[in-house]
């Protein structure tokens, strides 16, 4: 495989990125309390700006799980057929995905001639990313002259037995390595061309999916415009890193949200016994969340 060398193109281009995060705030006798938040961030010239929505706090119970999810799905993507709601365990992530797709769609429809960075791949056909939904987002982006670049931090794809991101240590950055002939198992569908992106020194490589409806030359040019307009630290675009940083919940915010629900809904926070610790003592790893509200 031949690398595609890249040279940064400084022509002014808006770089935007979207990321969301979710967290479980606690458990009630009927279900769980979760919070989701999303961030859109963009860089014009030398300045970054952001729009952060949330946190949105939901009390999800067995009774309202279907209703909450489908109501939001209908509100965000009215054309989409509501499929089965996720299970209890997946619900925080699925709610965050829903918000992320909506933010991505909004950005794709409102921004012009820019580069939109997604966190993750352009693989569709999963329960949280229906093919039609992602196709519509990519189409809307193309209609506005935008290019979608999706960065995956950790991939399981392999090339010659090696992890894709570790397979080309000798290639000098900045470069792209096109990985052709990836055939996902149905119902999964790839809506992007898969590349390995080595954008900076230091042996940092990421899987990069670029909208496959765009001509090959335009795909490469989009990456070159990204190089010319954004900071690339450790091979990763700063805009996307900021999107992640700004939406992630800090411990301080979790305490604040617990404080909010405690005051607003008169809930009392109690420390539920940690069964792992209780049963196994120092050999118990402990549960990740054992607070009950």
């Amino acid at each position: 495989m031949q690398p595609i060398p890249l040279s940064p193109k400084p022509e002014p281009t808006t770089i935007a990125a979207v990321d969301t995060s979710s967290i479980k705030l606690g458990e009630t006798s009927k279900g769980i309390i979760i919070a989701v938040r999303g961030t859109t961030i963009w860089k014009r010239g030398k300045n970054y700006a952001y729009l952060r929505v949330g946190p949105f706090i939901f009390h999800i119970t067995e009774d309202n799980l279907q209703e909450v999810y489908k109501t939001l799905l209908r509100a965000y993507f009215p054309e989409q057929n509501p499929q089965g709601a996720p299970g209890f365990i997946q619900i925080p992530v699925r709610m965050a995905n829903l918000l992320e797709r909506w933010l991505q769609a909004s950005l794709a429809k409102t921004m012009r001639d820019g580069i939109i960075l997604f966190d993750g791949s352009l693989t569709a056909g999963t329960p949280d990313t229906p093919v039609q939904q992602l196709k519509e987002i990519l189409a809307a982006a193309r209609d506005m002259g935008n290019t979608v670049l999706a960065f995956t931090k950790v991939t399981t794809l392999r090339f010659n037995g090696c992890l894709l991101t570790e397979a080309f240590p000798a290639y000098k950055p900045p470069c792209l390595i096109e990985v052709a002939n990836i055939k996902p198992k149905p119902p999964l569908t790839l809506l992007g061309e898969v590349y390995v992106a080595k954008l900076a020194r230091g042996n940092y490589a990421f899987r990069l999916d670029i909208d496959r409806e765009l001509p090959a030359q335009e795909r490469v040019e989009a990456v070159e415009r990204l190089l010319g307009n954004d900071l690339i630290m450790q091979g990763y675009p700063e805009t996307l890193r900021l999107a992640h940083i700004l939406c992630t919940f800090t411990a301080n915010e979790v305490i604040a949200m617990q404080h909010f629900i405690q005051h607003r809904y008169r809930l009392k926070i109690i420390d539920r016994p940690d069964m792992h610790k209780l049963l196994f003592g120092p050999f118990g790893k402990g549960e990740s969340h054992h607070e009950a509200v």
Partner: protein
């Protein structure tokens, strides 16, 4: 406020932004079930160690510079809660006492309930009432932060050793003047060893008129209106002067004793006769030289006279003050270091003499920068022996390390003004009546004219007070070069004529 942690006699309390608590404030931690309450004083206010706070701060400065611009759509209004958590504070408090009903005890052996205790601010006025910091002879020092008056009892200064310390221009002399005038109201006898002539104006208002204390203030300036005739001196006093102030060796002192006795027996104790006696005395030449050099030092001081009419009797002033109270100001502004020591030796010797014979009941002695005139052995004397005679000393200094550690240990009251120097705070914190943390933490942040009062006067509840103003004439101001000089460079008193070419050419 919530009780967080206790270690030793330090208690940590979590406080939220809507609760206004500052260093020096008192808190009452009430445990209703135990029917007891702890009184704790805030000695430091810190940010609470909130998890994730570092990440929170870091993400607001992503590119190592300006804050990232953005908009938050926060429909549930969580942001105020985040700020509330972020701004929560940890109050480091020192436990001072336990209240049971109306009684205060210094016991800190119990622990109030963490979950059930209620914590509230304890107004200083209430604390003072609880601690019974009042009495029949009130002295109002000033106002506390809560604008309530801090009134101490003059009896809490009686028989006590006090220290007033703080860095320059923080109000030490002002407080000592306040204490002196307050003591005068209660007919106390006060002696002030005034190094810079600052107390000479105590009998006048700021606009130069006589005030209520005018008749009680006696300013004695050595070699001017304060002279001593040799025949008024006791041998011990003159020997103390010669040995301690003028460093006369033992052998020579023995000869001097003989000469003095000889002259006294002859009834001719005058400076002239003393000089003649030394000249003609049959003794070793070296002893004679030693005695002569000291004799000349005595003569040159101008403090001694042969004219009894010219000699102002310190004793007279003190006995006059005994009836209605009075302050004898020993103004040593223009007195040389050696002469200062001579004068102080005389004054202290005289005081001891009057007190031991019960002609004086007790004296409040105010000593400014005492290390400049007090001999080494007097320090211990003052805090032990002289206290029993009835000399109750107040040391005033801006160099706390000039006062010995044992003085701090035995000090009953400390009036502490601002210090920023770590070393100075370290010295003061050796006082027995206060813990080092309180001194170091609170004194560092005291604004000018604010004083941390420690010790018996406040029943060991350290209280910050803004010392009240006093209408007395300010004396002994520092002479300044630029005072009275206009910004254009001309002086009010010296006019500089413009340079004229014609005059010089």
């Amino acid at each position: 406020m919530r009780l967080y942690r206790k270690e030793g006699n330090i208690i940590e309390i979590l406080s939220f932004p809507n609760e206004s608590v500052e260093k020096g404030d008192y808190l009452l931690i009430e445990d209703a079930e135990a029917q007891k309450a702890l009184i704790a004083q805030v000695i430091d206010v810190q940010f609470a160690n909130i998890p994730g706070i570092l990440e929170e701060l870091l993400r607001s400065l992503p590119d190592g510079g300006g804050i990232i611009q953005g908009e938050d759509v926060d429909p549930l209004e969580i942001a105020p809660h985040i700020t509330y958590i972020q701004d929560s504070r940890l109050l480091i408090c020192k436990i001072r006492a336990t209240v049971e009903g109306e009684h205060l005890s210094p016991s800190t052996s119990w622990l109030p309930s963490r979950s059930q205790s209620s914590i509230k601010k304890l107004p200083i006025a209430t604390l003072l009432k609880l601690a019974k910091v009042n009495g029949s002879l009130p002295i109002t020092l000033g106002v506390t932060k809560e604008n309530s008056l801090l009134t101490i009892d003059a009896t809490s200064l009686d028989g006590k050793l006090n220290i007033i310390t703080g860095k320059k221009e923080t109000g030490k002399s002002h407080l000592s003047k306040l204490l002196i005038t307050s003591l005068l109201q209660y007919k106390a006898v006060v002696v002030v060893l005034d190094l810079n002539g600052e107390y000479a104006g105590l009998g006048f208002t700021s606009d130069g008129k006589r005030n209520a204390y005018y008749n009680k203030i006696h300013v004695l300036t050595p070699a001017q209106n304060f002279k001593v005739a040799l025949k008024q001196l006791h041998l011990n006093v003159i020997l103390n002067i010669l040995i301690h102030a003028l460093h006369l060796p033992g052998t020579s002192a023995r000869e001097f004793r003989r000469i003095w006795q000889f002259l006294k027996d002859k009834g001719c104790l005058t400076l002239h006769e003393l000089g003649e006696a030394i000249r003609n005395w049959n003794c070793n030449q070296n002893v004679r030289d030693a005695l002569f050099s000291r004799y000349h030092a005595l003569v040159n001081s101008g403090f001694f006279t042969d004219n009894v009419a010219e000699a102002n009797l310190l004793e007279e002033c003190l006995l006059k003050a005994r009836e209605e109270g009075g302050a004898i100001i020993i103004n040593m502004r223009n007195t040389s270091p050696i002469d200062r020591q001579i004068v102080v030796e005389y004054v202290l010797g005289k005081l001891v003499e009057l007190l031991t014979s019960w002609r004086l009941k007790a004296v409040f002695l105010f000593a400014e920068e005492a290390h400049l005139y007090l001999r080494e052995t007097y320090w211990d004397d003052i805090v032990t022996r002289m206290r029993h005679f009835g000399i109750f000393t107040t040391f005033i200094t801006n160099q706390p390390d000039t006062i010995r550690e044992n003085i701090y240990r035995q000090a009953d009251n400390i009036f502490l003004f601002n210090f920023t120097n770590e070393h100075d705070l370290e010295v003061v914190s050796r006082a027995a009546r206060v813990d080092a943390e309180t001194v170091k933490s609170i004194a560092r942040d005291l604004p000018p004219h604010h004083c941390l009062v420690l010790g018996k006067v406040v029943r060991d509840f350290p209280i910050v007070v803004k010392v009240r103003a006093l209408d007395v004439k300010t004396m002994g101001e520092t002479r300044l070069f630029f005072s009275g000089v206009h910004t254009d460079g001309t002086s009010q008193t010296l006019s500089v004529a413009p340079y004229s070419v014609g005059e010089n050419s």
